[in-house]
């Protein structure tokens, strides 16, 4: 019987790994989720023969599963699409909480003098699980706007958080040394909960996805630690997989934002508030840049793409490459339009001519007034060699040289791909705030080369 259970756990572990593999490519992503879910069903099913139910045990298991399934299903199904990140935070937090509680129960169960190899993983699970629980709840509250999304900082915050961490380590050592004190790990749990809150408070709402990913990795490790406590192979392997892949994913996510993880987590500490933000130049500011593969995937799975051609496209003679990209996208069912600014290409009508030469169908060419309301429904605004004609400073910054110039509302699209040769300012010689925007991905290079790369990337996606 034990052999069968171990084999079932092995199958589950393999399914989790395959599921993760599929989840990291767009073609198999949805199946990957089913694969992982199948692994979960097998692991849970294999656990049933291990259980020796008391009457009370049977009741609480049934009640807990029903309540959890109802909350989980309704929470995940009913929530608005825009609120999905905070739901992930919530589901992550409860997992961390569960891991901590499992370790607590196991410690209580083993009474006064548990062995070191039991106490160490339990203590880790309690600390990490509690931090993950409390941190995720703060992340949820920030994203749900139950509290302010801006960083909450105060003088001496680093010192306070450092002291908290030190206190936790001190308590952890005490628990390890004198495990006979029954409620010492309760204090440990309380301290870890406080640290979880204190840790996430100074991080801004825009950085929450990275934080949630980090806490997700933490929950994975807490689960693995609980696995060591319970001597359960499934918990160790699945928890560690999540801990490891979650850590890498956290790094990838902060890289994609053009930031270091340390900058995301501790960036708000000791930050100096500049009154004259308008004066701040581009120097030292970071943009997010992306690979052709990433952008190809983004484009291929969009519903509606608006191409904003500019002078850079004309210079690079990239109009044929642009049309080729539009063709591949349309073959996949993506709706493509071109938004033509009156001064695109530096000459009224210049762009229309260039694109007509490349056999772009006339119906796809939209004048500024026709297309400006459509940007908010577009999945991607693909800016090819344009700059000033999409600079939001024209609307928002009275001191700017281009203030008052009518612009294309590319900033309202759900994603913005900004294709440019360099960070050099455009014709007007001013920085473009849009490049630093949270929805913007930069793709550097010659317009023609870049478009050709995107064509192959879309074909491969």
């Amino acid at each position: 019987m034990t052999l069968l259970i171990s084999l079932a756990y092995l199958v589950a572990a393999v399914l989790f790994i395959l599921g993760l593999k599929q989840l990291s490519s767009p073609k198999g992503a949805r199946n990957g989720n089913f694969t992982a879910a199948a692994g979960m069903v097998i692991a849970l099913g294999a656990t049933v023969p291990l259980l020796h139910f008391t009457t009370a045990g049977a009741v609480i298991v049934a009640v807990g599963i029903v309540i959890g399934a109802v909350i989980g299903t309704f929470g995940a199904r009913m929530v608005h699409m825009t609120a999905i990140p905070q739901m992930v935070a919530l589901f992550n937090g409860v997992g961390g909480g569960a891991a901590a509680l499992v370790a607590v129960a196991e410690l209580l169960h083993f009474g006064v003098h548990p062995s070191f190899s039991l106490v160490l993983p339990s203590v880790l699970s309690i600390v990490i699980g509690s931090i993950s629980f409390a941190g995720s709840m703060v992340a949820f509250a920030k994203l749900q706007e139950l509290m302010t999304g801006t960083p909450i900082t105060y003088p001496g915050q680093q010192v306070v958080n450092g002291l908290l961490a030190a206190a936790i380590i001190g308590f952890a050592i005490a628990v390890l040394a004198i495990a006979s004190i029954p409620f010492s790990f309760i204090s440990l749990m309380v301290l870890a909960l406080i640290l979880g809150v204190a840790f996430v408070l100074p991080i801004g709402g825009a950085d929450m996805p990275v934080v949630i990913s980090l806490l997700n990795a933490c929950t994975g490790l807490a689960v693995a630690a609980s696995g060591f406590t319970l001597n359960n192979f499934a918990l160790i392997v699945a928890g560690t997989l999540v801990g490891a892949s979650g850590s890498l994913l956290t790094k990838l996510m902060s890289d994609a934002m053009g930031r270091s993880l340390a900058n995301v987590l501790f960036g708000a500490f000791g930050q100096v508030q500049h009154a004259a933000t308008a004066a701040a130049g581009a120097a030292g500011r970071s943009v997010r840049s992306a690979s052709a593969e990433d952008l190809g995937t983004l484009l291929a799975y969009s519903q509606r793409v608006i191409i904003v051609p500019g002078y850079g496209l004309a210079v690079a003679q990239a109009q044929h490459a642009a049309r080729e990209l539009a063709d591949v996208l349309e073959k996949r069912g993506v709706e493509v339009e071109y938004a033509i600014h009156p001064v695109a290409g530096r000459m009224p009508g210049h762009m229309n001519v260039l694109l007509a030469e490349a056999n772009v169908p006339y119906e796809q060419l939209k004048e500024m007034d026709q297309v400006n309301d459509d940007f908010k429904n577009a999945d991607v605004a693909l800016i090819v060699g344009a700059n000033d004609v999409v600079n939001p400073a024209a609307r928002s910054t009275p001191g700017s040289p281009i203030y008052g110039m009518p612009i294309l509302n590319a900033d309202q699209a759900k994603n913005i791909i900004f294709m440019k040769r360099s960070m050099r300012p455009g014709f007007a010689g001013i920085d473009n705030e849009l490049m630093f925007g949270p929805k913007t991905l930069m793709f550097f290079g010659d317009a023609k080369d870049s478009l050709t790369k995107l064509v192959s990337a879309v074909k491969a996606a």
Binding site: G19, L20, L23, S24, S25, A29, R30, A36, M40, L44, T47, L51, H52, F53, I60, V61, G64, I65, I67, G68, G72, T73, A76, V88, F91, G95, A99, L101, V102, L108, S117, P209, N216, T219, G220, A224, L230, L235, V237, A238, G239, L241, V242, G243, S245, L248, L252, A290, D294, T297, L298, A300, Y301, S302, Q303, D327, K331, R332, N359, K459
Partner: protein
Amino acid sequence: MNNELLNELTFFVLAIFVGIEVISKVPTILHTPLMSGTNAIHGIILVGALVIAAGATSPVEIALGLIAVTLATTNVVGGFVVTDRMLEMFKGRQPARPSTPVDAKK
């Protein structure tokens, strides 16, 4: 160090390498769904919650077990359902086809 612990450590270390390797090529657009998918997988803590809840006798054990099972089930069910909802969006208007040679469709 006993044999069982050694085995467990072996699995732990190997799983670290597999976990890193298996997702290393994920495109940016899939970061959030992947995070959500791994989030559902650590719902495996439900296995642990079941183990401690099933044998509960004292009031403290019953309380801990009930809360742990509820939280863990929420993690598993919510995690998988919300990931599926995210990935639904990747369908596009037409089912994605394998790439074919490009020719103008007019």
